[in-house]
């Protein structure tokens, strides 16, 4: 067990799996010589060679499509979008080709798309997005959004071993800011199993990715303020997502906030909220509250971006409102 950054955990997971499984290779823009825009694959090309760590042309469609083809030939490709925002250029390859292949003709497409995502550093409308909500609507894809270093490693391992196309969202704001214990060795984390980030009894916050820490701060403030006990459920993966864990938490607390950094309308929070409202109708003591980014592009200038991103204060206000319901 060692303390690692979130970024280091992803890097270690990739490296270990590449050592373990010759079929794994990486492809993306500037991931080789440069080691990736965020240096996740620094040193990889030296260790694994140019054949397994491929600096591709600026071609998200070709990168993604090539992964599908290589996967069909028995490889385990892992590609990187330089920023998750650019996955819009690979949308068709993911949604039309990779996602539907198995249903249509029964051939598995074991690919992983790494997606550095999220805001918080004035990246502006094209370097800050959380596009998971688009893909959550596409049957055939799986989606991981780790929050902790241990999950970052555990989920990248599972993603690579999964026989399906997996979108792996790695939150840039967590890369170097979040450190945590990462168990040594082969510690894959199962998809579809939520994690209780913190137990509580008065109210549940259902969230994932960087918002886990926003929830944590708000919960701490609430506890200090008037002893409100907040349970935080970290979904870890949103396709599949752990309805049972969510419903169990709601059954306990009867009040729930769904929190994400993606925009509001038709975000994955809508799915969670709709499901809770449907399945836990009898249990709920208050309407399910969604706290999300507003329905705008991600603005660049700090005062706007700060207002855009859900802040601990926003969540605290939500907790208070729900508690008073």
């Amino acid at each position: 067990m060692a303390i690692k950054t979130y970024l280091q955990a992803i890097s270690d997971g990739l490296r270990e799996e590449m050592r373990r499984d010759q079929r794994v290779f990486l492809i993306g823009e500037d991931i080789g010589v440069y080691g990736g825009a965020f240096k996740v694959t620094q040193g990889f090309q030296q260790e694994f060679g140019e054949d397994r760590v491929i600096d591709s042309p600026l071609s998200e469609t070709a990168i993604t499509g090539a992964c599908t083809g290589a996967a069909l030939m028995g490889m385990r490709p892992v590609c990187e979008m330089q920023f998750s925002d650019f996955v819009s250029c690979a949308f068709d390859q993911l949604v039309t080709v990779a996602a539907k292949q198995h249903y249509r003709v029964g051939t598995p497409v074991p690919i992983v798309v790494r997606l550095p995502s999220g805001g918080g550093f004035s990246g502006g409308p094209f370097h800050s997005q959380n596009p998971e909500g688009f893909f959550a609507h596409c049957p055939g894809l799986k989606i991981a959004c780790p929050a902790t270093p241990a999950d970052a490693k555990g989920l990248i391992l599972s993603a690579i071993r999964d026989p399906n196309p997996v979108l792996y969202f790695e939150h840039k704001h967590l890369y170097r800011r979040i450190k945590g214990e990462v168990p040594d060795g082969d510690t894959a984390v199962e998809f579809g199993k939520a994690r209780v980030h913190q137990e509580g009894s008065d109210l549940s916050i259902i969230t994932y990715g960087a918002m886990v820490y926003t929830a944590e701060e708000a919960a701490k403030a609430a506890a200090e303020q008037d002893g409100t006990s907040v349970e935080i459920i970290d979904l870890r993966t949103i396709t599949p997502w752990d309805r049972e864990a969510v419903l169990a938490s709601v059954a306990k607390t009867s009040k729930v906030i769904v929190l994400h950094e993606d925009t509001h309308t038709s975000g994955f929070g809508a799915e969670i909220a709709a499901t809770i409202a449907e399945e836990a109708f009898e249990t709920l003591d208050a309407p399910v509250m969604r706290i999300t980014a507003p329905d705008t592009p991600v603005p660049f200038s700090p005062p706007l971006e700060k207002a855009y991103l859900p802040q601990p204060g926003d969540v605290l206000a939500g907790i208070e409102r729900l508690a008073a319901y």
Partner: protein, 348 residues
Amino acid sequence: MAVAREATPVESAEDVKQADLDSEDLLQIYRNMLITRGIEERGHILYRQGKIPGSFYTGRGNEGASVGVATAMQAMDVGTPIQRDMGVHVTRGTEPWRIFAQYMGRSDGLAAGKDGNVHMADIRLGLIAMVSHLPALMPVAVGAALAFQIRREPRVAVAWSGDGAMARGDAHEAMNLAGVRKLPVVFIVDNNQYAYSTPNRLEFACDHLADRAAAYGFEGVVVDGCDVLTVYREAHAAIEKARAGGGPTLLELVTLRMEGHAVHDDAFYVPREMLEHWKEKDPIERHRRWLKESGVLGEAVDDEITVEVKKLLNEAMKRAEESPLPDAADLDTGVYADPEELDTPHHR
């Protein structure tokens, strides 16, 4: 300004020998073209009888192009044939009854009723099932070639596109990546001069689509797609070049789409004279003539083959009609793969 090479036609038996084809191969090509056309003609009838749901596409006029290329592929090679390439499926050994079952949306169709018509392939025969979105499998074929290159396998991927589909970004990104990494892939353009109703002149402004190869650093060749032997020779050369590490080639196979885009389309926009002219060039008739002139095919054998193909197809239709429709309970199975499914040969 044309930059691609124009392939000279195969003329003599000597040419053919150089191309590594013996008499049995030449007859097999003939047989495969007949089966290909036979499947589509019968499919068309089944469609009119209401036995095939959805839409129906044929590749009449493209039998030489598709069979020619597929004949040049080795068993270990892989391909991503498209809507006019029934000949590829046939040549690589897809059983006709399963194709009819596919058309009719039956359980024994290659997509077991989950997908229809030409959106099919048998991965065990090295073919990857096309998607509608054209030419989205070009990058996929390039990825297969990438796998071969990484594993140092002497295998080649063959990627198909229509003339119209060459306008899409996927074609560009795929050919560019293949050129940069000198991947073992051969690009085939089925240039049947139309994309639905859109003629070549509204699709591209260079002389030949094969000219595009220069933009990606490899060779382009324009080939008479009605001449199966020339198609074979050029495909063979390109495939073996790729196998030897020589990188990609772009082959443009020029034909005319002899029927509508799909059966609902009477192709009123194709000038009649043009159709008449290309009818003369029919790839099956041409090959038959060549076989006869070259003494490979006598009347008797020709009759024998015709009867045999007819029998094969009639039995295939019958068997396909016996295949059950899928069970509604299967609707939501198979969206995701299970881990054990990775342990299939093509995944090792």
